[in-house]
């Protein structure tokens, strides 16, 4: 007698059920795993990216305040450092120039501090080279080194605003987490000493001072109050204050966007998980149907409904746990890939590959809860089967009823009989078909929505760019007479006409809590010439500027997001170069993503800034608008102006501006599409499972069909066509569903990145593309079940219970 079996028979049953049909178990494990991987991967990525980004940011001793003014010097730094609540102040000098490297010219932003080895705020970290930078050396941000393909020891040529060229040696590489990497800004950043700037003949006064406060100060309101106090004091000391702003304390500049976007991805991940639950429901329903007699038998020998329920639920929990084991390492890998991609894109480092306990716990909960919830209903329905029903149910498809489709099919003469059989088969298990369709439909709808988002972003970009109908923008180093600039520029062949704009830094003055006035956020006021301007304002509310307007202001949506209390018709107080004036907000316009600007009439603003008739920015309109002409004219205008003694900073063609903006959304679309791929995998697994179950349940029928002459090919064809019908139907259903989903996605992404909902522009490419994807998924998902069906022998089929 063999004694020693430790497991009770019921546990053996669970184990054997799981192992008996390995393909079914693997499909369910995979479906749950893909859901958990998608969900966990995104959360892991979010946790790693946001935490490391903010930690790296905090480690640089980041500024809470930026102040712009003149003339800021080292003495200003020291004065600010003596003020209450100030922990440190760091003056930065910036210069916007042109550089040549590998025979290519591009813009470059130079940044300089007094002493790189004694930085107190927004500290940059040397990576290689002989630190700190020396005179006539330029150090590059590490992302710029990759972007330019340069290396320490090489030389680059800098062109000054008067056309003079100087050579700088690349001294080393630094990491500056506060810098916008060149893949986003589309031009490099260099770091030089003040001595180098002096050698280049540039001003060594600081352009702005970055200020960090005591650690205990984290409230933005308090920070703004301190900023106002510092600004007021500096004004009293005789400084001319241009403005300032305070970023969200303790947060990297991209943290909010990364968090918000991660939430969108997590939502898709959670949806993937829910859809994988549908597959569990289908599989368990089929399992229960197959095991109806076993359930009856267990009840006969004394099992209660609760015991049987527990038995199957435990089986599902086991599968869920197994899926979790598979998912944890893979979600870590996915999370790490996502986090590293974000980090690479935003130029920070992921400190280490790590597991996060709360993500693991959430994954555990998801891996158990989703299958348990998904399986509960079919199990509960199954255990309601009475013993009598269970032991008396056998034969071919006893529950088939003739519906309208069957009657229609019966009368159809056009389609061949095998296709009609596929059509009927597809709808025989309506519940199963519905869940499979929902999964594929949602995957398809999200896929189409992502394409629509991509299309909408492109359209939005095109629309925004069409508002700015110029060819080349030239930044000047100081104010010049508009008339003089026009005369010079018009000498260049290919120039049609030019427009000169001016601008001013403005600081909003708001009433404070204690009657003291505090400053709101700083922003730029741009002033186009009166009458004919290239700008085609997209007015959302109110009106555009009239020639007779004096202190009228049209604000952008992005500025409204920063100052949400402003309404069209309000009068607001602005501080421009120390002059407080009241301004009437006459309109709201959509100026494109992140453009925190307002518009005013040129004569009034130029008078207010003490530079009547003078411009700072020149927009050139070329006779031809191709990229080559734009580039040629840009260079020629800059040369012409320099030869006339005009100090020219940088210039950009419209095409370069468009490329810069569009490249910022490539990663976003890439992430969304990769999540959609996971959804499509779950959809494909769901369809594979459904087709396998259909074939399994119709084993006898297939045997009968073979007995009456069906060949392998026709059996295979019936199964594959059934799968394709499902795919096709899901595509049809996904099209209308994609409309509200795309609207939601465009609103969400628009709010996060543009501060207003994107106008939805549906993508026919996405719709056509998903048709191809859905059909390919359907064929692949049906092939294995079809192969199995083709192998069933008549004898084996008729013996099947």
């Amino acid at each position: 007698m063999r004694i020693g079996i430790q497991l009770a028979p019921r546990w053996h049953k669970i184990l054997n059920d799981v192992l008996e049909n390995k393909a079914r178990t693997i499909l369910v494990v995979l479906a749950i795993a893909v859901g958990v991987i998608a969900f966990g991967g995104v959360l892991t990525a979010k946790e790693m990216a946001v935490t490391d980004m903010n930690q790296a940011y905090l480690a640089t001793h980041p500024p809470e305040i930026f102040l712009y003014g003149s003339p800021f010097t080292q003495r200003t730094e020291r004065a600010i450092e003596q003020m209450p609540h100030v922990d440190g102040a760091q003056g930065w000098t910036t210069a916007w120039l042109k550089m040549e490297y590998n025979s290519e010219w591009s813009n470059i932003d130079l940044y300089a501090v007094q002493d790189f080895s004694d930085m107190r705020v927004g500290v940059v970290e040397p990576i290689d080279g002989d630190w700190p930078p020396k005179t006539r050396e330029i150090w590059f941000e590490r992302a710029t080194i990759d972007y330019l393909g340069t290396a320490p020891g090489k030389t680059i040529t800098i062109e000054l605003s008067d056309g003079t060229r100087r050579q700088l040696t690349v001294g080393g590489t630094i990491h500056d987490i506060n810098a916008v990497p060149p893949n986003l800004s589309n031009w490099p950043q260099g770091y030089v000493t003040l001595e180098t700037l002096k050698w280049l003949g540039m001003s060594t006064n600081f352009s702005y001072v970055a200020i960090s406060l005591e650690d205990s100060i984290t409230d933005l309101g308090q920070i703004e109050q301190i900023r106002t106090d510092i600004s007021d004091r500096l004004e009293r000391y005789g400084y001319q204050m241009w403005g300032g702003y305070s970023p969200t304390p303790g947060k990297h500049w991209a943290a909010d966007q990364v968090e918000a976007f991660s939430m969108v991805l997590a939502l898709i991940g959670a949806l993937t998980l829910v859809l994988s639950g549908f597959m569990v429901t289908n599989t368990v329903s089929s399992l229960i149907t197959q095991q109806k007699r076993q359930i009856g038998m267990m009840k006969t020998v004394g099992a209660t409904g609760g015991q049987i329920f527990g038995l199957y639920l435990l089986e599902i929990c086991g599968i869920g746990l197994f899926a979790l084991l598979v998912s944890i390492p893979l979600s870590l890998v996915l999370g790490s890939v996502f986090a590293n991609t974000i980090a690479g894109y935003l130029n920070f480092d992921i400190s280490r590959f790590r597991m996060t306990y709360w993500v693991i716990l959430l994954q555990l909960a998801a891996a158990l809860a989703v299958p348990v919830l998904a399986a509960s209903l079919p199990i509960a329905r199954g255990i309601r089967t009475t013993v009598r029903e269970a032991v008396s149910d056998y034969g071919i498809g006893g529950d088939v009823k003739q519906g309208w489709l069957d009657r229609l099919v019966a009368r159809t003469r056009v389609l061949s009989r095998p296709i009609l059989v596929s059509l009927q088969n597809a709808f025989r298990r309506k519940g199963r078909m519905a869940l499979t369709l929902i999964t594929l439909t949602i995957a398809g709808a999200i896929f189409m929505s992502v394409f629509t988002l991509r299309h909408s972003l492109a359209q939005e970009l095109e629309r925004v760019m069409s508002l700015y109908d110029f060819d080349v923008e030239v930044y000047l180093d100081q104010y010049y007479s508009a008339r003089r600039l026009e005369q010079e520029a018009m000498r260049v062949p290919g120039v049609d006409h030019i427009e000169g704009w001016t601008f001013a830094w403005a600081q909003r003055i708001k009433s404070g809590q204690d009657t003291d006035e505090i400053e709101g956020g700083g922003f730029q006021i741009l002033a186009p010439p009166i009458g004919k301007t290239y700008l085609k304002p997209d007015i959302l509310e109110g009106r555009w500027l009239c020639p007779e307007d004096e202190n009228a202001l049209v604000i952008s949506t992005a500025m409204l997001a920063q100052e949400p209390d402003i309404k069209v018709g309000d009068t607001i107080t602005l501080d421009i170069q120390g002059k407080e004036r009241e301004w009437l907000v006459v309109g709201l316009l959509n100026a494109g993503p992140g453009e925190r600007v307002a518009y005013a009439n040129f004569p009034y603003l130029s008078r207010l800034t003490g530079m009547p008739g003078m411009v700072y920015d020149v927009f050139v309109f070329t006779q031809e608008h191709d990229l080559q002409t734009q580039q040629r004219v840009a260079n020629a205008v800059a040369e012409q102006l320099k030869s006339a003694g005009v100090l020219v900073g940088q210039s950009m063609t419209m095409q370069e501006i468009t490329n810069t903006t569009s490249s910022q959304f490539d990663l976003l679309i890439g992430f969304l599409l990769s999540m959609t791929v996971l959804l499509a995998i779950v959809g494909g697994l769901g369809l594979t499972s459904t087709m396998s179950l259909n074939v399994l349940e119709r084993t006898r029928e297939i045997g009968v069909m073979r007995a009456v002459g069906a060949t392998n090919g026709s059996i295979r064809g019936i199964v594959v066509v059934e799968g394709m019908i499902t795919g096709l139907l899901s595509w049809l259903l996904a099209i209308p569903l994609s409309f509200p989903l795309a609207t939601g996605l465009c609103t969400m992404i628009g709010d996060v990145f543009f501060e207003f909902p994107l106008t939805v522009s549906f993508s026919p490419v996405g719709i056509i593309f998903w048709l191809a994807v859905a059909l390919v998924i359907s064929v692949i998902a049906s092939l294995i079940p079809a192969q199995r069906a083709a192998r069933i022998s008549v004898r084996e089929a008729l013996a099947y219970e």
Binding site: I3, P9, T300, G305
Partner: protein, 253 residues
């Protein structure tokens, strides 16, 4: 040490509600099924009593109501009207879970198509009722399972799956499983209907031995020869008991 069976109480498990001392007592049992064609009366006002230790055969044509009758006794089905008492239990009043637990401990059922769980070994199939009804300790369950297999002569096949043995052997396993919790009553629905005559004879011999240990057996059969060797035969037609016949022959013969 416990035996394979406890000697069943010859008087059943006690009288119910002061009624007579029958082990099984069906009173005015009617069963009506609703079908697409209308109502179908499977049993019509059936009254039947079975005493402890009796071996009763139920005979009748296909669709006569034999299986419905034994389904009433086992609680597999419920009467549309009437009452079913088994031992001291009013079976018709039990809910599904109470019924499952009671049946597991008190009634062993043997089906024509064996109904063994295909993924469990023969021994595990026998241990399953003990597991569900929490009878015996885990070690005792295995020992008892092996003893029952020895009783039906299949101890060598204990660790095989049901598909690895013949139909007759599967039916012997089904009998062993029916006896797992040592129930006083064994109900068999055409237990030999799917077996050859030699194997059927073997099964019948096992039933004979069970009767000797005091079990009560109710068996549906088509086999008049086997039916003639039980204590009592009940003929059923159109849902009604038409004749009852007391047999004089002993089972052993």
């Amino acid at each position: 040490m416990w035996g394979i069976f406890t000697k069943s109480d010859a008087n059943g498990n006690g009288a119910h509600d002061g009624q007579e001392n029958h082990l099984i007592d069906l009173r005015g049992v009617t069963k009506i099924y609703l079908t697409h064609a209308g109502e179908f009366v499977a049993l019509n006002d059936v009254n039947l009593t079975i005493e402890p230790g009796e071996f009763v055969a139920v005979l009748g044509k296909s669709g006569s109501g034999k299986s419905t009758l034994i389904n009433m006794i086992t609680g597999i089905d419920r009467p549309s009207r009437g009452e079913v008492y088994v031992g001291d239990i009013a079976a018709h009043t039990l809910n599904e879970n109470q019924m499952a637990r009671w049946r597991g401990r008190n009634v062993g059922i043997v089906f024509q198509f064996f109904q063994l769980l295909p993924t469990l070994t023969i021994l595990q199939n026998i241990m399953l009722p003990m597991d569900f009804c929490k009878m015996y300790t885990p070690r005792e369950r295995e020992q008892r399972g092996m003893m029952l297999l020895e009783m039906v002569g299949l101890e060598r096949h204990a660790h095989k799956l049901p598909t690895a043995i013949s139909g007759g052997q599967q039916q012997r396993v089904a009998i062993a499983r029916a006896l797992a919790n040592d129930p006083p009553i064994v109900v068999a629905d055409e237990p030999t209907g799917n077996l050859d005559s030699r194997t059927a004879e073997h099964i019948f011999e096992i039933f004979g031995k069970l009767i000797d240990t005091g079990k009560t057996i109710v068996m549906v059969t088509h086999d008049h020869d086997l039916a003639s060797r039980v204590h009592r035969t009940i003929h059923i037609a159109d849902g009604e008991i038409v004749t009852e016949q007391q047999e004089a022959l002993s089972i052993a013969n």
